[in-house]
């Protein structure tokens, strides 16, 4: 067994054992949030790494959360069925919006604008149908009767949620890796550089982009549904809308969009930042996190486009003090 696999197994064992050793509920709560958002950010990065920058993912997340909760409250549908239905809804919406975009070559900034509208529309629909969704006041899934927790996917125990979130996060990473090793990644890299040349190599450009978009949307809806089941309270601002979409872009770019664990690093940073502001400044700091996100986003795009993790990995592979040119200079000097 090689060292990398062994390292992963040890890390995983530590993560699984953690809630049984360290039982602090506040820390576990933070970890669950980090894992759920990491999964959401990973979902976004599956598209984002190929230059398909979507600001519509807040919409998919909102659909995941609200469809699951509405089906439970109004029709008594168990989340075990409600979550897949919410994912299908998000998937269908993603295809409806993305197909015309890809078919008619709406790329770059124009694609961003179309997806931005999608986020806005989902937010408006949730707010406008307040008789069903509670509007901007938020929405709470009905508590299940005792003993029906599993059926309702409601658990009071933080450890259970931690393990669920850990499993889903891990599945997200495996999907990322599966795509990374598939020919689809090569096709998407080619498409992101030159659509005509990719088509001339035989790639069905529209279908490849739709596949990636669909996977990303389905995963994001699942993240929304999990967030809803865990928090037992959702509001349009926390699970949908442009702010959530921007938060995804920010976190992924800060963490690193081209590496598997980049979005996870981004989630750790964004959630700790929000918590520090909340605890340190309380209600005086409401909205500050968005200001900090905005500033950092600009700085990262200019100075560290590969994100924190991406840059660290580059640095380990080729430390800046001994760059290749430098090495050759040293070798030449040694020969003299």
């Amino acid at each position: 067994m090689n060292r990398q696999v062994a390292g992963w197994i040890v890390a995983l064992a530590v993560l699984v054992a953690l809630p049984f050793v360290h039982r602090d509920p506040y820390h576990l709560h933070l970890l669950v949030l980090i894992l759920i958002w990491s999964f959401a950010y990973t979902s976004w990065s599956i598209m984002g790494r190929f230059g398909l920058v979507s600001l519509g993912h807040g919409g998919f997340m909102g659909i995941g959360a609200y469809v699951t909760a509405l089906l439970w409250n109004h029709l008594g549908v168990s989340p075990w069925i409600g979550i897949p239905l919410s994912m299908v809804t998000a998937g269908v919406l993603a295809l409806i919006v993305a197909y015309p975009c890809f078919r008619f070559r709406i790329t770059g900034h124009y694609f961003v604008l179309v997806t931005l509208a999608l986020s806005g529309i989902v937010l408006q629909v949730i707010t406008a149908t307040r008789d069903y969704t509670g509007g901007s006041l938020g929405y709470t899934p009905h508590r299940a009767q005792s003993g029906k927790g599993l059926y309702a996917l409601q658990f009071d125990d933080k450890t259970t949620w931690y393990l669920i979130a850990l499993a889903v996060w891990l599945v997200g990473l495996l999907i990322w890796r599966w795509i990374d090793r598939s020919m689809s990644r090569h096709a998407m890299e080619a498409i992101s550089e030159d659509e005509d040349a990719a088509a001339a190599a035989g790639v069905n450009v529209t279908v490849e982009k739709l596949k990636i978009t669909l996977i990303s949307a389905l995963m994001t809806a699942l993240a929304g549904a999990l967030y809803c089941q865990y928090q037992m309270f959702i509001s349009p601002d926390t699970v949908s809308g442009i702010a959530v979409s921007l938060q995804m872009v920010f976190a992924v770019i800060v963490g690193g969009v081209y590496v598997a664990l980049g979005p996870t690093v981004g989630a750790v940073i964004t959630i700790l930042l929000a918590e520090i502001l909340r605890i340190g400044f309380g209600t005086r700091a409401v909205g500050w996190d968005n200001l900090v996100y905005g500033l950092l986003l600009v700085l990262f795009i200019i100075f560290l486009p590969k994100g924190i993790l991406g840059s660290v990995i580059d640095w380990i592979k080729a430390p800046p003090k001994m760059s290749r040119g430098h090495e050759q200079e040293t070798i030449k000097a040694a020969r003299r």
């Binding site: 020919m183 090569h186 005509d196």
Partner: protein, 257 residues
């Protein structure tokens, strides 16, 4: 093998290609020449599906392919290169060609794609090293990569677009010989678009000349080279006068020396 009938492409009021018909027989190399803007690349773009024709029919192996999407046309067996090489710089040389082999052969098998990539890279004379990057290639290397990508899709008909622009004379000759080798060894039929008449005339079996979107001549290289309209197109209507002027200038230089 290929039968093009009444092909038209209009961009707004401009007719880039006007009622062009021609045939390509199995195993031949057809040269397609003409000045800038004569419609050569537009015809290529329609044959490969990059542009849909305004009117006309394109029969390939007896099937209508006019207006099909590019990936479908490639899977039917028409490969193409671009006038300006368009490599995927985020992939290695090998990955570039494997991509074409994977999607272009229509079977979506990785093993077959890698096989095709090894074969195509060997054919054009590029290294099959898995990690060599595209950035190490010069103009000639990029043209070879372009050709290897097209070959990896397993074409029956290869559309080679101005493959010699930017090469020196020796490289040009090598590239021309390469096309000949591809036809002779792999049995691939070729349509070759080129600005530079000299090299092309040496290699092709037949040549077709375009001007302002219309076919003005077609036939054996020797016949076409002597065609009055072709000379006019390439040298201008005052061809005789300019030749005379050139001769006079040369004579004057000799006297001065």
């Amino acid at each position: 093998m290929l039968a093009v009938e009444g092909l038209v492409k209009r961009f707004g009021g401009f007719r880039a290609v006007n009622n062009v018909s021609f045939r390509v027989e199995q195993g031949e190399i057809l040269g397609l020449i003409g000045p800038n803007g004569s419609g050569k690349s537009t015809i290529f773009n329609m044959l490969s599906g990059t542009l849909p024709p305004t009117a006309g029919s394109i029969l390939f192996d007896g099937h209508q392919i006019a207006g099909l999407a590019p990936h479908r046309i490639i899977n039917r067996g028409i490969g193409r290169t671009f006038q300006i090489p368009r490599p995927f710089r985020r992939l290695s040389i090998f990955e570039n060609v494997v991509l074409a082999g994977f999607y272009g052969q229509g079977r979506h098998s990785r093993a077959r794609a890698e096989e095709a990539a090894e074969r195509s890279l060997g054919m054009v004379g590029l290294p099959t090293d898995r990690n060599a990057g595209v950035d190490g290639l010069g103009a000639a290397g990029l043209k070879k990569l372009e050709l290897a990508k097209a070959l990896a899709t397993g074409p029956k008909l290869l559309l080679a677009d101005e493959s010699l622009g930017g090469l020196d004379e020796k490289e040009m000759d090598q590239a021309a010989d390469m096309l000949r080798k591809i036809r002779d060894e792999l049995g691939i039929t070729i349509i070759w678009v080129e600005h530079i008449m000299g090299v092309l005339m040496r290699v092709v079996d037949r040549v077709m000349v375009l001007d302002h979107g219309e076919k003005i001549a077609e036939g054996l290289p020797a016949d076409v080279a002597g065609d009055r309209r072709v000379i006019e197109v390439y040298l201008g209507t005052d061809a005789d006068a300019s030749l005379a002027a050139a001769a006079a200038a040369q004579a004057r230089r000799r006297i001065e020396a």
